[in-house]
């Protein structure tokens, strides 16, 4: 193994460039994974996952995986500047899209922050080799934004814990390997104080993965049902009943999204994992409307939003990294990118005209813009709603009064959980 720590960033750039050009294929013209389009068969999806694992392994063998992960866990121990160089050199090439979020961040990031030495040594190198794809078992069907109100229970049984409940909104759990799970271990204390975090393999007895069909037919999202899933205590992350300490950091990593230096995102790869403003231009051309001033106005707006989104991420990332901004400022990029991505969907739909209502396979970039519009709000819901981001910004960044919490100092067992229980 060569010494990956060597050299300035230009030496590193040359090494990255040589690897990328010699080993990787140009990025596929197809819509990237995560766009929630119903445009792949399961076999195609599995083939892409397999290729991404393979590419991740190639990156690992070339000392280009886990740039900002510590060397003792298989990473390169380099800086965000090196990650940026790699992102630049990967521009226009394939990369392991599905292995970034949530595997590298927030899941691996949480392991780095809270995992035991043994847990880190076991999982992080495996993640960096592409052998373990992780999912967040965080949201629940009953919960939505109230993550700390988790109902999935974990009950101690000797050296093990027994988990029961249901988690939802995992992307691709049906081809993933491990889960990071927030569960309730104490019902007699207020909700934030009775949680604990566990990890476990997804493919096991008692864990049923159900694929959710979205309104456009996409089946990327899953719901899991846990029935007496047994987890050894050695697979607990953080202290018993202290899961909210882990959870707070977990959600910070989630809001950092592609701003995290732990994640690889080639330059020019659109936000929300969907092509964006250049695709809006392609749509205008495919619609034959490039000469219409109104369409050009929309093209300009889409490009503007793309650029501003990128520059905002850089600014907030810098602010958090240098400590001039609170970690909670990550909510600012989350809010902006959610709202601007939904606006860009609307622009694409607008430009498509009647092809937004009905399209053929020959409609190029206009195809699916109607479906995309129907799914528009996903960018403001997934990864924590924009409403939650607005609460975080106003309360944690601007210091405005917190919303009244009626479940704050009450044993979780006594907190109303629906219309029926609140009537008593």
């Amino acid at each position: 193994m060569s010494d990956p720590g060597v050299g300035d960033s230009e030496t590193f750039r040359q090494r990255a460039r040589d690897f990328v050009r010699a080993n990787l294929q140009p990025a596929s013209a197809r819509t990237p994974a995560g766009a929630l389009r119903n445009d792949r068969t399961d076999d195609e999806e599995l083939a892409e996952v397999a290729r991404e694992r393979e590419v991740q392994r190639m990156l690992f063998d070339a000392d280009l995986a886990g740039i900002c992960f510590p060397r003792e866990y298989g990473g390169q121990g380099l800086t965000p500047a090196h990650q940026k160089v790699l992102n630049e050199e990967l521009a226009g090439y394939e990369f392991p899209t599905r292995l970034q979020a949530p595997t590298l961040s927030p899941c691996a990031a949480v392991l780095l922050d809270f995992g035991t030495e043994e847990q880190k040594r076991r999982h992080i190198p495996a993640i960096l080799r592409g052998e373990e794809i992780w999912m967040q078992f965080l949201s629940e069907p009953s919960g939505g934004s109230d993550v700390a109100g988790a109902l999935t229970s974990a009950v101690r049984d000797g050296d093990e814990w027994v988990l029961n409940g249901s988690k939802i909104w995992t992307t691709g759990a049906w081809w993933s390997d491990w889960g990071l799970c927030l569960a309730r271990t104490n019902w007699d204390v207020p909700k934030h104080r009775g949680l604990t975090v566990f990890i476990f393999p997804i493919r096991q007895e008692g864990l049923d993965v159900h694929r959710i069909e979205m309104l456009n037919g996409s089946k990327e999202f899953c719901q899991e049902f846990l029935t007496d899933v047994r987890v050894p205590d050695s697979d607990r992350i953080g202290d018993i009943d202290d899961g909210w300490t882990v959870g707070t950091r977990w959600m910070f990593h989630e809001r950092m999204l592609t701003n995290s230096p732990l994640v690889t995102v080639p330059v020019g790869f659109g936000h929300g994992g969907t092509g964006v403003s250049s695709l809006v231009g392609v749509a205008a051309r495919d619609a034959g409307r490039l000469s219409e001033p109104v369409v050009r106005d929309l093209m300009g707006e889409a490009r503007m939003l793309d650029i501003v989104d990128r520059e905002l991420r850089l600014r907030i990332g810098e602010g958090i990294a240098t400590g001039s901004m609170a970690d909670q400022s990550a909510a600012i990029t989350r809010l902006f990118s959610g709202v601007s991505a939904s606006r860009i969907r609307t622009i694409g739909f607008e430009i498509a005209g009647t092809a937004g209502a009905a399209w053929t396979d020959d409609d190029g970039q206009l195809a699916f813009s109607g479906d995309d519009y129907l799914m528009r709000q996903v960018s403001c819901i997934g990864g924590g709603t924009t409403e939650m981001a607005r609460n975080v910004i106003s309360e944690r960044v601007l210091g405005m009064p917190r919303e009244r919490l009626l479940d704050r100092d009450v044993p979780f067992r006594d907190v109303p959980r629906g219309r029926a229980s609140s009537r008593s």
């Binding site: 403003s277 490009r303 907030i316 809010l335």
Partner: protein
């Protein structure tokens, strides 16, 4: 504004802010409301001594920057100008000084010296009356006749047109652009004041009726100034954006304070979720404006190919989203927000006027569409 400044830049920004606090507090801005120039000479010279007019001028002409990137340093001044709604021809004088400096200006040495000391001010006669006021459109006629150059046409709005000692006039000679430096008071130049949405800056109509000046008044070469004019527009956009972001910052800070201080129905405005969420949106627009403005200024200072795209992205975003932010600040203040007595309008005006100069958001979006077409669809 940039998150990380060098200690020299921070000192410069702070000194500028202190001077503005001292010389043009809001009481002074109100007093200057009916002043024909909108600022006084002593104020301007004090700022010039600090370096407000020398940052875009090379050392061989007596200028110099703080960081090596004069536009980045100037943007710090512009940001403070916006934060204070400060008067004075900062944008136009700097654009003219840079142009004279870049065009080898040995013949303009004395003028540059006067601009750097603050003894004189210059302005840029760029836009023309509607409907010919589109971004970058130029119709004013510049003809070379023997040893003279003759100008015919009308420019408006010209900032500090009645106060300026020198007018840099952008005109057309056949297919190409020509720029001419015309001293104020030259025969055939008439200046008439305009009404304005601003109270701190003055704008004029400047008409050129067979204005005849010597050939050496041409800045650069006749008919070849197109690229130079684009550079000037880029600088104007960069400085205008930085000012606008400064004005947004002050208005936002005032409104946050207000939300904590003002109680309705027994609780502060800041406790209402509907308002908290509006403040969150405004925070995202404000931070995004800082981010894209700084990126554009950095790119323009470095002269990289992405600069025009970033400048137009910044101008269109800051114009539109900043306008919404400003009006939300007014809304959250309620009735007091639309009175002259309250200070909010000073910053609202700064943003509003800048939004309409050097390209509206819609014009910058058209420029972005051109770039998308050239880059992605070629």
């Amino acid at each position: 504004m940039l998150l990380a400044l060098s200690s020299d830049q921070e000192l410069f920004r702070e000194t500028t802010a202190k001077l503005l606090d001292e010389l043009v507090p809001v009481g002074e801005l109100r007093r200057l409301r009916d002043d024909p120039d909108g600022f006084d000479g002593t104020y301007w010279r004090r700022g010039a001594e600090l370096g407000w007019t020398s940052l875009l001028v090379g050392e061989q002409h007596g200028g110099g920057s703080i960081s090596g990137q004069g536009l980045v340093d100037l943007a710090l001044v512009a940001y403070e100008f916006g934060r204070h709604a400060a008067p004075g021809p900062l944008l136009v004088t700097n654009v003219v000084a840079a142009t004279l400096d870049e065009n080898g200006g040995d013949g303009f040495d004395d003028v540059i010296k006067e601009l750097l000391s603050g003894e004189s001010v210059a302005t840029w006669c760029q836009a023309e009356p509607p409907p010919n006021d589109g971004l970058g459109r130029t119709f004013l006629d510049v003809r070379v006749e023997g040893d003279d150059v003759v100008l015919n046409g009308v420019k408006r709005p010209v900032e500090s047109g009645s106060r300026a000692d020198y007018l840099l006039v952008t005109g057309r000679t056949g297919p190409g652009l020509t720029q001419v430096l015309v001293p104020a008071g030259t025969a055939g130049v008439s200046v008439s004041p305009m009404h304005s949405a601003d109270v701190t800056r003055r704008f004029s109509v400047v008409a050129f009726d067979n204005v005849r000046v010597p050939l050496h008044s041409i800045v650069g070469e006749a008919g070849t100034a197109d690229e130079q004019v684009e550079r000037q527009l880029g600088r104007a956009v960069a400085i205008g954006n930085a000012e606008a972001v400064g004005a947004m910052q002050t208005a936002f800070d005032m409104t946050v304070e207000w939300a904590f201080d003002r109680y309705s129905f027994g609780r502060p405005l800041a406790s209402y979720q509907e308002l908290k969420h509006r403040f969150a949106d405004m925070t995202s627009w404000l931070e995004a404006s800082h981010a894209v403005s700084d990126a554009a200024i950095g790119a323009a200072a470095a002269g990289v190919p992405e600069a025009p795209e970033l400048l137009s992205a910044a101008a269109s975003f800051i114009g539109d989203y900043g306008g919404d932010l400003m009006q939300d600040c007014v809304q959250i203040h309620g009735g007091i927000g639309v009175t002259f007595e309250h200070d909010l309008h000073l910053y609202l005006r700064r943003h509003t006027v800048n939004r309409a100069l050097y390209g509206t958001p819609a014009e910058h979006r058209q420029r972005l569409a051109d770039i998308v077409e050239q880059e992605d669809l070629a």
